[in-house]
Symmetry: C2
Subunit: 219 residues, 2 copies
DNA sequence: CTCTTTTTGTTGTATTTCCAACAGACTTAT
DNA sequence: ATAAGTCTGTTGGAAATACAACAAAAAGAG
């Protein structure tokens, strides 16, 4: 766990917790570190969970799949971010989504019960953790709204431009990388991959953007 | 304010607060009651807000509008539910959405600062309020995900059926009312109104559902 | 009640998306 | 280096959607 101390310090859930208290706190929360291979399933939809995760290395995706096999990617969770905490905090028993590691990943799992109920040692941090968690779920709300903004755009072109400019803004530069390959991007924006590929080609021909693999530049 | 005591007792934010403490608490939070006419704007996109609202009567809608005039309804907020709290908790300065009263409404506004910082009187409730707020934002997360599930369906028919069956489930009956007229439903599901109307007609002809105005029955 | 406005349903056409199939580029394993 | 597998771009036809225009029904105003 110690090798991830630097990462843990950047996790928003632990904001305001002293570095010296961090390991102690993790013990109290009975945090469990686990390794996942690429494409391994972390949580399966329908499953009942009693812990949420923190990505310490790699990345995971939150995925919805209907029984026609249509896949929809709700979110990509990168290093130092949480997943599953909304279901935990809302007390949802059966997961309506799956979580999949899309790269070799190290994930830290924390028991929700432990977070919600103060214990002798962590009591001092408890109130801080809840407040941090509130901030995190509120931020997730915002990014879900932003995703809705993308997918409700009428055409593939508009969806692409809305998504890409938001990524550029997030990166603070017109050059940026995205955490998706083409099929994943299509599943995130909820469009047809081939049509999207064609549209990307058009946008490039019109001089609106450049791209190479998952690296983009808006012009 | 007293006339709404029964409603206030059902507000999830105040869960665990004794009825006798409620009015005291509202004073501490400097809650302000305000009346709105139908179609009046409550919050305007771009505005900077420092309070969130609770619907005591009527309803409001959370609306996104792009500069082509395409409207997207993110959510409908009914009696005893909160709006704007995600932006408050996330510390978002400029509202990315608008809030509009879609019926004559009484709204209670609460200052975020007051909620976040304990004061001499409300201190005892403070921790409870934060926990309740966490639960509320987590639940909102879930309903946003559900909305994404609707709008990412490929066809108008699938969107309708996904939405209507979720409403039936929520109502606990195959008969239920929806809080939208046709144009609003189209803007919520992000489809063309006329195409949606046609699809509703087909579904009725096929004996899959019955409807009259905003009252539906799944068969 | 009558007139006006809003809401809902219907239709036809242009546009867009979806799907399937395929070829080339790139990766990975052996 | 070869072969198998994956990812990306391209195309054509089928299906679905968006848009505009209009008629009928319902709601609201005077």
């Amino acid at each position: 766990m110690k090798k991830y101390l630097e990462i843990l310090k950047t996790v928003k859930l632990f904001k305001g917790i002293k570095e010296s208290d961090l390991m102690l706190l993790l013990g109290c929360l009975s945090g469990k570190l686990q390794h996942y291979e690429k494409n391994e399933i972390v949580f399966m939809s329908g499953e009942s969970i009693n812990s949420f995760g923190i990505v310490l290395a790699g990345q995971v995706q939150i995925v919805q799949e209907d029984f026609y096999g249509n896949r929809s990617i709700l979110a990509n969770i990168g290093v130092s971010n949480l997943f599953g905490e909304s279901f935990a905090c809302a007390g949802i028993k059966n997961l309506p989504v799956s979580v999949i590691a899309t790269a070799e990943s190290d994930l830290l799992f924390i028991d929700c019960q432990r977070l919600a109920t103060p214990c002798v040692n962590s009591c001092a941090f408890h109130s801080q953790l809840i407040q941090n968690m509130l901030h995190i779920t509120a931020m997730k709300n915002i990014s879900l709204m932003q995703k809705i903004e993308f997918v409700t755009k009428r055409t593939t072109r508009e969806k692409l431009l809305a998504y890409l400019s938001s990524e550029a803004q997030k990166a603070g530069s017109s050059c940026f990388s995205i955490p998706f390959n083409r099929q994943e991007l299509a599943d995130y924006l909820s469009v047809d991959r081939s049509a999207m590929s064609a549209e990307l080609g058009k946008l490039r021909d019109e001089g609106i953007l450049k791209f190479h693999k998952n690296h983009f530049e808006l012009l």
